[in-house]
């Protein structure tokens, strides 16, 4: 990178907050994903929104790619730069969280980890709906950038469903507030208002392509009196699919997550007590939880499952954590998730399983419910000596089958790149918006959807 640019960055944030030492870049060249090392050219740690704004103005002026690095826990590879450039690490931007108990919401800077949010809210008896499935190191801004999803999504939905607004620095350096706080003297209590379309949605799930999220406003909830998990075993895809349908229809769960027996084998856990394991979580007042658990038993038995008997290990939702075992050669996992209607579960599973069988891959299928649909989270595990092109071909084959089944991906890439499946007019609208907000395409350049055909 041009040393003049590095020096200008140092002028903005201070010398100690800019580094291009190759040994330090190593840490930013890897994320928890299948992606091979992709090294940025310089790391910058801004300390304020104003500094972020000045950095973006400079990057835009010099047409320098900018990638924002957060927890690095996404297994999609989106945490890594597609093209060298500047990597922004927002971890200095973690001022104390501001609670607004009156409107049951909080605001925090983008660099605050979800771990700290959980701790700080818990100290006052509050919580965020659920924790990220890939660990607590994720920052709040990244959680929004990915529109995170998790087991508590059954009742609370995804991050976008409890997001109230944002402070964002656009690629050209403007500072924008979305949600109610952009208007008059209004506080940060609602995402929607009568001043035009929902601009928060422009940045939600944008994977760092639309702007730098510097502050997040979010709903918080009281920690419930009681919480309970119940586990059921099912003999096949049809019965577990029916059980989920019944549970969702009854609207009694906080979270529903399902794993297949392969997940236990792959993660070296004790054998699963059934072909499929369904765990339902209930929360609320004790009487409420008791009722929900009782009802879950009725419905799961009706669908053809059985409750765990005493001594059977309680199901653990920990695929991502438990993959971290020492293997020789070392292992990586590739996830190829997406969303599908609950009644398509068997079709989605069958195709993923057939591809895994065909190529002899260790694997595990898991999924949870987000409101009225399923978020599947299948993993294939391979070792580092495997030819990545072969793995990418396999993943492409899985997605091709799923596209036929009517699923939608959870991310548009970077691999496989889903651009060609996007409706032409939708894609053009997206490109028009992206060009308007990021005229030099500096933010996470190379991240799909593609800007050109």
């Amino acid at each position: 990178m041009d040393q003049k640019l590095v020096n200008r960055l140092k002028e903005i944030v201070g010398e100690q907050w800019v580094t291009d030492d190759p040994w330090e870049l190593c840490a930013y060249a890897r994320a928890w994903s299948y992606e091979l090392h992709r090294r940025p050219e310089v790391i910058v740690n801004p300390g304020s929104t104003q500094e972020v704004s000045e950095i973006m103005k400079l990057a835009n002026e010099t047409i320098t790619p900018v990638n924002v690095r957060a927890g690095g826990t996404t297994n999609t590879g989106a945490a890594l730069p597609r093209e060298g450039g500047i990597t922004l690490d927002l971890c200095r931007m973690d001022n104390p969280i501001e609670l607004d108990e009156g409107s049951q919401s909080f605001s925090a800077q983008g660099g605050v980890t979800v771990y700290r949010i959980i701790k700080d809210l818990a100290a006052k008896g509050w919580k965020i709906p659920w924790k990220p499935e890939f660990g607590n190191a994720v920052t709040l801004a990244a959680w929004v950038n990915f529109n995170g999803m998790g087991v508590g999504g059954s009742v609370y939905g995804r991050v976008g469903d409890f997001l109230l607004g944002l402070e964002v620095v656009t690629p050209t350096g403007e500072i924008v507030h979305t949600g109610s706080s952009h208007f008059g003297k209004a506080a940060k209590f609602t995402r929607y208002q009568g001043t035009g379309p929902d601009l928060t949605g422009l940045f939600l799930e944008s994977l760092g392509t639309m702007g730098v999220i510097t502050e997040v406003y979010m709903r918080m909830y009281r920690i419930p009196e009681a919480k309970q998990q119940v586990d059921f075993a099912f003999p096949d895809e049809e019965t577990v699919q029916e059980a989920v349908r019944l549970l969702v229809e009854a609207n009694i769960s906080y979270g529903i997550c399902v794993t297949d027996d392969q997940m236990s084998i792959t993660n070296q856990l004790p054998p699963a007590p059934g072909k499929w394991i369904l765990s339902m979580l209930a929360e609320g007042w004790q009487e409420e939880v008791d009722f929900r658990v009782k009802k879950a038993h009725e419905l799961c038995l009706q669908a053809g499952g059985r409750a765990f008997v005493e001594g059977e290990r309680t199901a653990e939702w920990g695929s991502a954590a438990s993959i971290s075992l020492p293997y020789e050669p070392s292992r990586r996992q590739i996830s190829c998730g997406g969303f599908h209607p609950i009644h398509k579960t068997k079709e989605i599973f069958d195709h993923y399983n057939a591809v895994g069988e065909k190529y002899g891959l260790n694997r595990g299928m898991g999924w949870w419910v987000d409101g009225n649909y399923a978020n599947n989270f299948p993993i294939y595990v391979y070792d580092e000596e495997t030819d990545m092109d072969r793995i990418f071909d396999i993943i492409q084959e899985v997605h091709d089958g799923w596209i036929e089944a009517g699923y939608v991906p959870d991310y548009p890439g970077p691999f496989p790149n889903m651009t060609k499946h996007i409706e032409k007019s939708y894609l053009e609208l997206y490109r028009t918006v992206k060009r308007s907000i990021d005229p030099n395409n500096i933010m996470h350049r190379g991240m799909p959807p593609d800007m050109e055909d």
């Binding site: 580094t19 040994w23 840490a27 928890w32 690490d89 980890t113 771990y115 607590n136 075992l325």
Partner: protein, 391 residues
């Protein structure tokens, strides 16, 4: 292979998932079910870059072993930034507690190759080699703190005071000796035969010099006829109890921390605190007593809570997940200051007026941080001095 010791951890380096649990968010326990420290890595807290955490060193180490990086002076300094407090070893990731061992192995390779250690550690080695202690003081003065106390040089129990208590803060050694006497323990000291425990040599990868000094200390202890060695400094305790056997094999004596003896004496009724203390009291667990191979956390609490009417409360991060005090005030002064101030904030957050420690270095670092902040509101006191005031 240029880095054979680092390469011994090849499997861990290659399997590291870069998941961030060592510096920003542990997997478990998930609050409010268990201990959850506010901070996970002191070096990351200071630098706010993932490169300054176990994850960063592991990724750089792997890249070095892949032949894609060359060592240069600034890179060597980077490897010496970690305080080896072991907080990351709690993170239950694929590295499985070997984070500190990996960095120590890398430093050993650097020393063997002539790249390391960095200047402050090199100076430590020179000073220790010349004078036998880390302050460059005359060894003849080592037992000055014990003048008038009539402590013999031979006995079955030897009190190992350590450099800080012998030279820099003699009141620590004096309090320790008084408490041992109060407990009815007949003990000896090594006098000028007591050398530095070698902690800075072990930390910095100067393994040959470390082994030599460890052997000399063991010989001196044996010559004194000791069956038990008592330390009041957690660093000395860690070295004698955990590290010496790694380099010298099984020791011909047992090593205990003084809190273990005093707690027993309180249980047996040999020591009976009679005076109360004012204000809220908390205890800072030294890293070297609760992780990195040791689990001495019940006894200090037992001792403190024996004080009549005491208003005691643990801090939010205690025992295995304790937060570092800063550890190396001489070799890593900025990191040490930053970390010490963070820990003092934990004391304030708990509303405590007094924080008790059981390590000469923790006492040093916390007092140093408080002085730097001009904060006289918190009393920082070692456990023996604290207890003497209650007898």
């Amino acid at each position: 292979m240029d880095y054979p010791k680092l390469n011994e951890y090849h499997l861990k380096l290659w399997n590291d998932q870069a998941c961030g649990v060592c510096q920003r968010g542990p997997w478990t326990p998930y609050p409010p079910r268990g201990p959850a420290p506010n901070r996970l890595c002191p070096t990351w807290e200071q630098h706010r870059k993932i490169s300054y955490s176990a994850q960063g060193w592991i990724q750089a180490g792997r890249t070095l072993l892949e032949g894609k990086l060359e060592m240069e002076p600034k890179f060597v300094e980077y490897v010496y930034e970690c305080s080896l407090c072991g907080s990351c070893c709690n993170s239950r990731c694929v590295v499985n507690g070997d984070q500190v061992n990996i960095i120590k192995a890398w430093r050993e390779d650097l020393v063997d190759l002539g790249h390391g250690p960095t200047e402050p550690w090199k100076k430590d080695a020179a000073v220790i080699e010349k004078g036998g202690n880390r302050f460059g003081r005359d060894q003849k003065d080592r037992a000055k703190w014990a003048e008038g106390m009539n402590i013999p040089n031979k006995g079955e129990i030897v009190y190992f005071a350590g450099c800080v208590a012998s030279f820099r803060a003699q009141e620590l050694a004096q309090s320790s000796a008084k408490m041992l006497k109060a407990a009815g323990v007949d003990f000896a000291i090594l006098g000028e035969n007591e050398l530095c425990c070698g902690n800075p040599l072990d930390q910095s990868g100067q393994s040959k010099a470390y082994k030599e000094i460890a052997a000399k200390n063991v010989e001196a202890i044996k010559a004194a006829g000791a069956k038990t060695v008592v330390t009041s400094c957690a660093c000395c305790y860690h070295n004698l109890a955990v590290e010496y056997p790694k380099v010298l094999g099984e020791l011909p004596f047992q090593v205990v921390h003084q809190t273990q003896i005093i707690a027993e004496a309180i249980r047996d009724g040999k020591i009976k605190p009679t005076k109360g203390v004012e204000g809220k009291v908390t205890y800072h667990d030294p890293c070297h007593m609760v992780r990195l191979g040791s689990k001495v956390y019940k006894e200090p609490r037992e001792i403190i809570q024996s004080v009549p009417g005491i208003d005691y409360k643990d801090m939010h991060a205690t025992k295995r997940v304790t937060q570092c005090c800063g550890r190396n005030p001489v070799e890593q002064p900025e990191l040490s200051m930053h970390t010490g101030k963070d820990r003092l904030q934990d004391v304030r957050d708990e509303g405590a007026n007094t924080v008790v420690t059981a390590c000469s270095f923790c006492d040093w670092n916390l007092k140093r941080a408080a002085r730097n902040e001009g904060d006289e509101s918190i009393k920082i006191v070692d456990i023996n001095t604290f207890m003497l005031e209650t007898l």
